[in-house]
Amino acid sequence: MDISKLTIAEARRALDAKEYSALDLTNAYLDAIREKDGEIHAYLEVWEDSARAEAKAADAIIAKGEAQALTGIPLAIKDNILIEGRIASSASKMLENYTASYDATVIQKLKAQGAVFLGRTNMDEFAMGASTENSAYGPTKNPHDTSRVPGGSSGGPVAAVAAGLALGALGSDTGGSIRQPAGFCGVVGVKPTYCAVSRYGLMAMGSSLDQIGPAAKSVGDAKTIFEAIAGHDAQDSTSINYVPANKPLRKIIGVPRAYLAEGVDADVLTAFENTLTQLRTQGYEIRDVEMPNLSYSLAVYYIVMPAEASTNLSRFDGIRYGHSVQAEAIQEVYTKSRGEGFGPEVRRRIILGTFVLSSGYVDAYYRRARSVRELIRSDFKRVFEEVDAVALPTSPTPAFKIGEKSDPLSMYAADIFTVSVNLAGVPAISVPGGAVERDGKMLPVGFQIIGTWSGEDTLFKIAANVEL
């Protein structure tokens, strides 16, 4: 069995045709992980025994002729999504020994389909970062060049898919955390519409931004996973009763040219233009659009996200779960448990969030950022009246070197083209859009397509045209 080019769609066909069993398939992935993951470090923990048991159960379902889209499909799960009885650490020392008390809704849905869970995968601690270097357990390497980062924060799940160590994966995307690594690693990544997928059992970072989404080898596979996990959930009161927008495709794509004027590597821009040209030959009209408030996205994001993250992370106090330092007074239990448990980037964002929410600054920073966020949202709303989708490069550069970005602001700039999507709550997909050469190696770059609210169907259609 050659798993290097295998897709979920092809595995589904072969499993249903009994060309190989789900157990054979899972074993092939476990072998690949054993052979290659020492170098990539996509996984924090591999669950060989339970994966085989799940594969055998899937074979029984297939034998009965009751297979669903993901029955027997081996998947990788980001370490911030809960699976009952399994450690979920968010790649933090804070949760090094934390065992999940329940299944996330997305996990329940995958279990109901008979999917196979290969293991939990690496990430930037508490999903804060764009490189996986902020993991407390060491960085994941980019399969295209192991001296480079896979992107982040979902670097582990995405690298697992790219390296052939999983057929698909679940990540989370707060400001680009699925799309940016997908671009860096040459796979497909989706940030669904805000609240299209339940977040029950996802460790919260920025609650007005977070979404769980798929990473996969093909647009069709990403769609399959998305459809398996989307929908309303009584356990997540923010989740919506997802109904696809189902708008007729006008074949018009908007490009906010002014936003691309500076800061993008020349060959990355060329790759982006080439993809647009390819879409033109397929009958698409590429139209310049004005989105003047996009330029504020990164600034708004780095106010709203730390504000929400510092609030969400207050729950880690050494009392109910997680790292706990025993001390004389309860105040010390809090401060020491948090000081020891959280890594440097998490501490930085807690301080930043505490500042922008503090009395005296909350109006100038947090409240103003919320107002500007509405302007960004209305920019999208306006352009979607005339275009099907907006296209942008996923990132301004290809994958950078491990250790290259040492100051926080240069790392934050990696999110420049992805954060506006989370701020507006719209869906977006990153599909492979060519490659650029760095140090003699070809590195993939992502082509990002942004759709209107609940417009995933349109994104999958356009993305399939890019994929051709």
């Binding site: 008390s101 009584a234 779960y321 440097p344 926080p408 709550g425």
Partner: protein, 96 residues
């Protein structure tokens, strides 16, 4: 806007122990980040934007599950327990 950021005070508010070396580092980094995000002051927010789609979500005012169903599962994660309770250090002390 914020020339000097009192990192030690923020760390105290956030209940976070931060070493002196890190305080010094953050005293440089946080103002840099704030100077960057300051660009939002240039945005024209004169016309008030409306937030679509926000709604209240309620559930029936009743017990969602029988009492004690998850007690053991959740207590297993606690660093310290006494019976069916999470044990914590004394919150209010007469000393000092």
């Amino acid at each position: 806007m914020a020339d000097k950021v009192d990192i030690a005070a923020l760390a105290k508010l956030a209940r976070l122990e931060v070493s002196d070396a890190e305080v010094a580092k953050l005293e440089k980094e946080i103002p840099d980040i704030l100077a960057f995000v300051e660009t939002i002051q240039k945005a024209d927010v004169s016309t008030e934007a409306k937030t679509d789609g926000l709604r209240n979500v309620m559930r029936a005012d009743e017990s969602p599950h029988e009492s004690g169903k998850y007690t053991e599962t959740l207590l297993k994660a606690a660093p310290a327990r006494v019976g069916n309770r999470v044990a914590v250090k004394q919150v209010i002390s007469r000393k000092k």
